[in-house]
Symmetry: C2
Subunit: 345 residues, 2 copies
Amino acid sequence: MKNQNSITTMSGAKAKLSQTQSRWKVFGSKELQALAKIESSLMKGAKRYIEDQDFVWINAPHITKATGSCENFSTMFKMDYFGKKAYLSQTAQLYLEVLTPFLKNVWTVIHSFRAEPGVDSRHLTEFPLVEIEFEGNFNQLLTHIEGIISSMVRMAAVERSAELNLFEIDLNHIRRFNTPYKRITYIEAIKMLQGEGLDINFGDDIKTVHERAISKSIGYKPFFLTHWPQEIKFFNMRMNDSDPRLVNSCDLILPFSGEAVGGAEREYTYTRLKGKLERSKMLELLKQNGGSVEDFEWFLQFYKHNKANLHSGCGIGFNRVTQSLLMLDDIRACTVFPQNSSVYW
Amino acid sequence: MKNQNSITTMSGAKAKLSQTQSRWKVFGSKELQALAKIESSLMKGAKRYIEDQDFVWINAPHITKATGSCENFSTMFKMDYFGKKAYLSQTAQLYLEVLTPFLKNVWTVIHSFRAEPGVDSRHLTEFPLVEIEFEGNFNQLLTHIEGIISSMVRMAAVERSAELNLFEIDLNHIRRFNTPYKRITYIEAIKMLQGEGLDINFGDDIKTVHERAISKSIGYKPFFLTHWPQEIKFFNMRMNDSDPRLVNSCDLILPFSGEAVGGAEREYTYTRLKGKLERSKMLELLKQNGGSVEDFEWFLQFYKHNKANLHSGCGIGFNRVTQSLLMLDDIRACTVFPQNSSVYW
């Protein structure tokens, strides 16, 4: 088994999976074939859990208005759509949300696009995002996330033991993904990090270096960071009833890859949604880029004219799960056709 | 049951599913909820067949070079990709093909994008395309297509009988999708149509009006049109050994929706692929649009340096299967978020 006390540095045969130039040269390698089979089983494991829970698959749009944006509006790819401005989707969240009053449990896998200029071991410009939305609360959400991640890893372990062997992944690593996952609040995390002498305060983002410190302290297992400040999160995450500075949100941090899942309870009343959207940083950015709140018209109109209930959901960054399972230090090594700002096929 | 002797005209409740303006008003209708559940089961049925046949799922790129084009290069959406010209994928075919020498059976579901200006009952600008590629021949391909389509319909019939009832779909219609499907060669079809007094000759496309005439004559069941002229098909479809004017290709024509699947054996030697690409209409169009054969460099280099074997594959236009099963006359009524040149979300 690999050294578990640090992010693995790939060497030799596996390093070639990071190669993006002339990638066709890598297709014949046994590492790429193993990777493809593991990806396939991870996706199958996600689907099986979701289907077994009676979620309804939705065909979600990929060319969208600004409603296809997650937090980072500035990283949306723009395109001309028959003379109008459109974007490539980053999340189907809002499209799924409006169906929850009727269909209760919905899901999709979209291709999430990010106009990230960075050419490095951490950025891809497109990746599959597994998304669920359902009528239910925060605790049910955490249970579903645990269910999906553990089902993914279990399917890979069952179907691809030879391939996992090739990556030197053994049962001790696989067992890290056994549920339940530790739940740490944002405020607890800030205190932990301050206790380790790190310069971080309420309202700051918890960055990769911080995630790694926590990951190390709990033995490199998956953990949730919950109840983040509204200020630094998506506009429609639901306010926490006992501390209005916070929202009922969670990130799942996986060992060796970092944030792999973001989820939350959602606001579901017209008044709150309208108010929070109008005060959001995303709308500010949208306006700076020549857009307007009109992009959200269909979403707001829906909530104005329909009764909705408490619902929750999340998006699972597929390649980050692969990276964590395979303990790889380069996201480009975690999928067959990695794309970044310098390479596309 | 609906009148089976003509394409059904939707009336009343069902007609509202075609509404694209303010579509949020439709989300609460029981028709939309039934449609979503039927779509979900159709997709599940496709996946189950493919997974049961041990195909490996591939995460295929959606921002592509011209290698993401199917026949209609002129309908590719263009975009700026960090200063370079890129396109939105129409098919993952070539990306899957280069993996078949190693992984044998591969598949994916991409979102296929078409810059179709038409605002009518037949055009969508994006739709899911279920794609398979495998080492194997034409007969195996037809068997897989029959297997996927019948598995889709069976899953919907098993899981969604109440929803199918709402669309007035009964067992007599469901049984149309029982395999095997009739196989008619292109040349036979031309003769059939000439026999009915239609003005059509070898080398002409078989259009919707022709498909409907054949569909009627065989009792509105699915049928294959096989062995088309190379002239009007994708450059890498494999030449027929006994009649070099033809390629070993197939379209599957479904009752009430038309062409739902296109597939073929593929050329797999560098010399043939290079020659056929250089003589293709697609390359001509690409050059007229400021592109060049360089976009195909990775694909040609792969075949230059790797030994490949006979392989075949197809793409299944998901919404056309839904349309056929539900006997709807408007593609906009066949998915939750229909997008065309006038509407996006």
